[in-house]
Structure formats: structure tokens, C-alpha cells
Amino acid sequence: MRRVVITGMGMVSPLACGVEQTWKRLLDGQSGIGPITRFDASRVATTYAAELPLGDGGDATFNPDDWMEPKERRKVDDFILYAMAAAMQAVEDSGWVAETDEQKERTGVMIGSGIGGLSAIADTALLIKEKGPRRVSPFFIPSALINLASGQVSIRFGFKGPNHAVVTACSTGAHAIGDASRLIKYGDADVMVAGGAESPLSEIGVAGFNAARALSTKRGDDPQSASRPWDADRDGFVMGEGAGVVVLEEYEHAKARGAKIYAEVLGYGMSGDAYHITAPAENGDGGYRSMRAALRDAGLTPADVDYINAHGTSTMADTIELGAVERLLGDAAEATTMSSTKSSVGHLLGAAGAVEAIFCVLALRDQIAPPTLNLDTPPEGTRIDLAPHKAVKRKIDVALSNSFGFGGTNASLVLGRGEV
């Protein structure tokens, strides 16, 4: 069986532009959440979000000019810009340069998004109402289509292998990495650039999730306290934007070119709740079966899991996930650390699973579990260490990352230590 390893990582997050800068600030307990500046939020119930730190590129700010020329940016919605930035970082980090036709044909892209070009769609609808259909840009459709993130990245690098895109709401990033790994295992490609990107911070995005009663609304006076997974006073998730992309590579391919191997994708599991359009099944069975399938794929037992990066969105569903994890781990719960990095970076929807998989890779590399911020009042009776407030230094040989999405779609990744 072909093995799949991670040899490159890229990230644009509310904490920073860049993987290492984000990781440093995450471990440091910083928050990427603040008042919404991207649009006039005076008409929506939630006035805060996890926006990218825009700037000139200094101090790990995100400067769009560094990643796409202004002329090209007019043809893409922001989620594609973020995907491009994360992909460029990941490819550079991996050192992989596809030069020959065969190398290009053996390198593919699978970057998904939960919603895609929501702003482009909303803006164009308003334009049609105001000025009529003749004014619609020829770039409207290719700017909004979810698979154009993969398309744009493939065009930039000349990657001619499988070109695909996952759309599974908040499970997108995890499904993309899992599915892309399977493509490598199955032999469709030797290298896959995989991940997720999201740009939901517009009035229509916030209004939509507000209407679904999913977002935190009560912490306008202190936004950095709003994302508080498992805490007794949580009141919904905090939406964020960004992208996470990894370079996945067949193990022997990576070894042969002397690539640094950050981690190995040991297992991937999926399940469906078949229960409700937005709420997880109350017994947590979907998440449980997803984790169980991932461990079975990895040939590991629950006791092997050292660190879990939870879906943990800071909603009522946190308790359900916790129950599913406890059921999975049994007595091994005492030796496991689980945290939700959404407490710091917010919920990046379709990018979340990819960003969080990268956090797992870094946890494996640095032997430290990132903290769950704002967890002042943890749930009673759990034996799992939820890493409140502070990062936990500990042995981490195996990490598991959960992502669950609207529609009852669940994905779990099991990652093992690399050779760095």
C-alpha cells in the first residue's frame, strides 16, 4: 500500500499570514477575533468575526498584492485569493517543482470551499437588480465557482493531474485532505495540493448564519471572549476567513527527492448523520463512527490517540462531540488531550479542517497541544484534558482531527509523526 506524507504547508489565518507565525501566536494564546471591519455590520446581529490581518505584508499581515496581481484579483472571489496564497506557501515549503510533463501530470490539486463565492453572487444579484443583466461581468461565474480555487492553482503551477474540489460545508478541508490522500494511495497522482478556503465575511454570510441561529451574538463588548468551546457560557460560533493547504506526497516519492516529511496521513474516516440539516445527531453517533473509521483505516486503537483537534465550534454541539470522543476512548480518555483551536482563529468553515490538520501536524512536530481559549467553566465529569487557556507540552505520536458539517457530514483524519 502506498503511504502518504505531508511535505509542505501553507496558511492564511486570522492570526497571521503564514504557518509558523500563526502557530506561534496560537501557542501564545492570542486571538484572531475582533469587530467586523470588512463590511458595515450595523444591520446584523453579530458584529464580530475572525478577519484576516490585512496589511502591507509586514509582521505577518496579509497583503493581497503578494499573491495575485490586481488585474487577476478582479477575476476571483476572495476565497480563491486565500487559496492561492496558502497553496503558494505550501508548494514553496515543499520544495516540489514539477518540471517534466510526467511530473506535472502526476501532480494534482484538490482545494475545496464550503460556500465559495458568496460575495460575488450577492454583489452580482444586486447589480442585476440595479443595472440589468447586460452589466454582469464575464468573470462572475469563474470567480464564484468553488472548483476554480483548484483551477487557478493548477494554472499558476502547471499541475495537470487530478483537479477536483470538495464541498462538504465545515468538513470540506478535512475531506479534501483525506480524499486527496486516497487519490495518491490509489495511484492517480504522486503529489496532491489539498485543502480548503473560505471567505464568508459579508452581510449575506453573517445574516445567513445568524438566521440559522449558529453564530455567537452576545460578546460585542469583548469579541475575543466569544469563541469558547465547551465553556458553560458559549453562545455560538465565531465565523472566520482564510485558507489552509498542504502538499501531500507519496512516501517514496518524497524520500527520493529528499523532501522534509512533516507527518504521515495514517487514516481517514467519514460518516453521515442522516439526522438533521444543521444539528448533529444528539447521540454523537456520526462523529463517533467517523473517528472509528479513521482509526480502523490507520490500523490503530483509540488508546493510540494522544491529541485530538476537536471540531469544537463553541456551540451546543461541543457537548455532543465530547460525548462521542469519550465513548470512543473509554478509559484511554485520561491520557488524551483535546483542544479546539477555533477558540483562537474562529470557525473558518470550509477551510477549518485543513487549517486544523496543519495544527495537528505542528503539534506532532513540536510535541505540544495548542490551547482552548476562554474555557473558564469546563463541562463537569470529563476525564479528557481540554487544554484550557494554555498549551500543553506532552508526547504526541498520533493526532486526530475532527470536522463536522451542515447536512450531517463528518470527516476525521489520523496523522502520525514525520521525520522532522
Binding site: 447586460r134 468573470f139 469563474p142
Partner: protein, 77 residues
């Protein structure tokens, strides 16, 4: 007259991200200025917006160069 030419040139420079001195009378949007078919559709829309005119699709297809565009707009305006 030169006013129209300058305004067209400004739009072309902005949309295609090219140097101003490349935009001469005979410069083809596709062959010389790096536009693709979607770029030319957007250019025509920008001309319509700027000059408050309507350029039918069959007429738009005849606008291949900067000179074509200036001439069409002068005749239409």
C-alpha cells in the same frame, strides 16, 4: 477626440494591466495586450459604461484593436 482616446486608453491600461505606451493605434487586445476572450467582453462592457453607449455583440466582435475601439466610440458618441 483625444479625450475619447485617453479615456479608452485608461480603461485598457486598468483592465489589462499593461504599460500605457503599449496601447497604440494598432495594438490588438488579444495578440499584443495579453487579453483573452473574457477580457475583451469585459473591456467592451467598460466602454459602454464609460461612454453611456450600447455596443451590440456583433459590433463588439469587430473591435479588435485600440484603434477600432476609439473609432467605434467616436462614431457612436
Amino acid at each position: 477626440m483625444s479625450d475619447i482616446s485617453d479615456r479608452v486608453k485608461k480603461i485598457v491600461v486598468e483592465h489589462l494591466g499593461v504599460e500605457e505606451d503599449k496601447v497604440n493605434e494598432n495594438a490588438s487586445f488579444i495578440d499584443d495586450l495579453g487579453a483573452d476572450s473574457l477580457d475583451t467582453v469585459e473591456l467592451v462592457m467598460a466602454f459602454e459604461e464609460e461612454f453611456g453607449i450600447e455596443i451590440p455583440d456583433d459590433a463588439a466582435e469587430t473591435i479588435q484593436t485600440f484603434g477600432d475601439a476609439v473609432k467605434f466610440i467616436q462614431d457612436a458618441a
